[in-house]
Structures are given as C-alpha cells and as structure tokens.
Amino acid sequence: MKIAVDGAACMGHGRCYQLAPGLLTCDDEGYVTIRDRVIDVPDDQVAVAEEAAGTCPEEAITLLRD
C-alpha cells in the first residue's frame, strides 16, 4: 500500500500524524510532511494509515493499494 496527501487540500488539522505517529510526522507549521508526495506504507502501518485517511476532514489522503 502507498499513501498520498493532496497538498492543496491539506489544511493542517493534524489528525493523520496524531493517529499514525509511526508513519507520518508534521513540519514546523503543523502540516504533515508528505504533502504532494506518495510514500510506501509498511504492512504494520496499514491499519493506522486507513484510520488516518478516513479521519481527514478535508479528504486530502488517498490510499493506493498494491
């Protein structure tokens, strides 16, 4: 699985990295650091990645299943 964040849609709610601290982190302003990027989701992070995507109020997170 891969996870992608739409940088224009992300508004820095901070819910994703709160729920998936082993996968995502924030920058100095509080935005997730992978805006407009796609990264691999390790197997042990799939559940929290799904939770992060489903929790984003801006629907900015997309999961790409292999």
């Binding site: 849609a9 901070g14 100095d28 302003e29 509080g30 489903g54 929790t55």
Partner: protein, 393 residues
C-alpha cells in the same frame, strides 16, 4: 423557517434542534434578519469549507452580511489569509504545544488541586473559564495574573455577541478593554531591536507581511481575535466534555483504565458536543450548490452541529463513542480557516481530563435542575456546571 439561534435554552437543546433541522431538510431559507440559506448535512458543510473561492469569510455571521468588525485573519480571504496564517502557524503548531506541555499540565494541576478538597465546584467558573485563559496568557508570554481580567472581558463580549441587545454595551466596553490592554503591551515593546523570546506580541511586531512590517492595527486585530477565538471556545468544549464524564461513569472508568483513549474521547466530544452551532460565509458569485440557486452576496450558514451528527456521514451518529474511528468532524471548522488553536485546544482538553481524573476520579452533577446553555448565535456553552465528589479525609 424563521429561527432565532441566539437565545439561552436548556442544555443540549441546540443539538436536538440541529438534528431535527437536518433530518427534516438538507436546506432551508431562514427569514431571520436579512435572510440566509442554511445547509444542514455533512456533505454540504464539507463542500462549503472546501470552496473558499465561492464562500468568502468576509462575513462569517449569516445575520450580519456587512459586519462593522473585521477579524484578521478570520475574515480575510486568500491570498492574504495564508500570508497572515504563516506568521502565526508555527507559534500554535503541535511542536510548540509539545514544548509548552509541562506548563499546561502545571497550570491545570494547580487548578484541580485547588478545587479538589472542597468536594464540589462550579466547573465552569472555577475551572473551565480559568484554565484556558491562564494557559493562553502563559502560551503567548504574558502575565497569568491578568487571568481574572480576561475572564471578565470574554464573558461580557460573548454576552453581546450572541445577539442579546442588553449585552451590547458591556460587549463594546469589553472589546475596548481588550484593545487597550494590547495597546499597552505593544507600547511596552516598541523600539526593541529583537523579538522577545516566547512573546507573541513582540514576535508580531518583528514579523514581515510580504516584506513589510505588520501595522499596529493588524497586530491589534490579530491579538484580539486570538482572545475571542481561544478562550470561550475551550471553556465551552470543556464544560460539555465534563458534563458527559459526570453523567457517564462507564466512560469515566474506561478512561481511567486506559488513558490512551483520552485523545479519541476528546475528538468525540468535539464531534458530538460541537459548540459551534453553525458557520457563516458570503457567496462570491451566482452558483448552484446542493440544491440552492445562490446569488452573489447571499449569506449561507453551514450547520456544523448538524453535519457532525449526520448519520449519512457517521455510523451510530447519535451516540458518544469513546474510541470512534474515522471521526472526520468539523469541530475546528474546515478549509483554510481551520482553527489556528486546534492543536493547543485539544492538548489542553486531553491534559484537563488526565489531571482531573487523577485527582477526582469519581464525580457527579450536583444539581437536579436542568442545566442551561447560551445560544448558538456565537458558541454554545454551559452557563453553570455544578459538580460534586466525595472527599477522603
């Protein structure tokens, strides 16, 4: 419909009203004031927030399309809005909150320790009003000795803001008091060569907006809006969260047994007990939107309380679920104007629950009378919350 959203009502009645409005219709035209559209469901509120180029923040109060006040950056649209936000984003970021966490806990613990031996208190007056106010002053580098003064100003301001005509004069006096306070703060810092460490007012005086310094008027506006947006909101949310804990011993026990559930319980309180009844925007062009033919200049009202409890968006929407998943609520609004203080507010609430349950694990509402809440014209908040607990000697 013709609905006045400003009156004091029985606690919880605003959410019942929002639920009813949402289930009866996705859309209303409210003939109150000059008239405005009300969107009641999650999909429309989400789309209102996601399209700031259509839904301007020039006015965020639907019954006041031409407001005499102008909150910066709350009522500023892009591209200037993000320029203002970038000046303050880092100040209110999760990392900044991490750094302040020991102080947040210290202030919170001292307040709980003060009330604990009494076996009871008015949670609103003795804790919920004081904790966020003291924390805010500390967080921006000011003297917490001014807490009492700020508590009084915020009470008076929102007494008038909610639409009660008798509250207008105290509201104006409070606003003037807050501005005078900031003018004094700015005067004390004028001419200093470098920003004071940990001092937000000083930081703003040295900040650049597209290459120029901020004007005094902009700084005053920004500091004032932080006071008005940051103190009463946290107080309101804390009140409903603690009323829930006081009346749901099972949830209290679950949080004591597993404190890792506290963050999701806080998020659920933001969804289920949203203090924002609705959020207004001004339409910038003629557009068809979720079944309404909107005209340029129309006001719209996204019923956030309806959206956050919409069964089309949430499973078991009408229940408070401690460990709810996929909780994409708009308790901190959405879009570019997402609450600046969200990270601070949720940490204050988390620590509030942790510290309270540590010292006062078992407590109840100490009155048989109905609790009352201030109207949703501004933000819902419990006027009083008497709590009681056993004191071990």
């Amino acid at each position: 419909m013709h609905g006045d959203f400003s009156r004091i009502r029985q606690a919880g009645s605003h959410w019942q009203w929002a639920d009813q409005l949402r289930e009866d219709s996705p859309l209303y035209f409210n003939t109150y004031a000059q008239g405005y559209w009300v969107f009641t469901r999650h999909d429309a509120v989400r789309d209102m927030y996601k399209n700031p180029q259509i839904f301007s923040s020039e006015s965020i109060t639907p019954w006041e399309p031409e407001p005499i006040y102008r909150f910066v950056p709350t009522q500023i649209d892009e591209p200037d809005h993000i320029t203002y936000r970038r000046i303050v984003n880092a100040w209110f970021s999760p990392r900044a909150v991490d750094r302040a966490q020991p102080e947040i806990r210290g202030i919170c613990r001292a307040l709980v320790q003060k009330v604990a031996p009494a076996g009871g208190c008015d949670f609103v007056a003795d804790f919920a009003l004081r904790y966020p106010t003291a924390m805010f002053l500390r967080f921006i580098g000011l003297d917490t000795a001014d807490t009492d003064q700020f508590v009084a100003w915020v009470e008076d301001f929102f007494g008038g803001f909610s639409g009660d005509p008798a509250g207008l004069e105290p509201m104006a006096r409070a606003l003037d008091g807050i501005r005078q306070y900031w003018i004094t703060v700015l005067d004390q810092r004028r001419g200093e060569p470098a920003p004071r460490d940990g001092d937000l007012a000083s930081h703003l005086m040295h900040a650049r907006f597209s290459g120029r310094p901020l004007t005094d008027a902009e700084i005053l506006d920004m500091l004032t809006v932080l006071v008005l947006a940051g103190l009463d909101t946290t107080r309101g949310q804390l009140g409903y969260l603690f009323r829930h804990l006081a009346t749901h011993p099972d949830d209290r026990a679950a949080l004591i047994a597993d404190p890792r559930l506290i963050p999701s319980a806080v998020e659920e309180s933001l969804r289920f007990y949203t203090i924002i009844f609705g959020d207004g925007r001004k339409v910038t062009r003629d557009v068809e939107f979720h079944g309404a033919r909107l005209k340029k200049g129309d006001m719209v009202y996204g019923l956030v309380s309806g959206a956050n409890r919409d069964p089309r968006a949430y499973e078991r929407a009408g229940e408070f679920i401690l460990d709810r998943k996929h909780n994409h609520h708009f308790g901190f609004a959405g879009g570019p104007h997402r609450c600046l203080g969200a990270h601070l507010a949720r940490r204050e609430m988390q620590i509030g629950v942790e510290e309270w349950l540590r010292l006062i694990p078992d407590f109840r509402v100490a009155t048989g009378e109905e609790l009352a809440e201030r109207g949703g014209g501004s933000m819902m908040t419990l006027t009083k919350l008497p709590l009681a607990w056993e004191v071990a000697w």
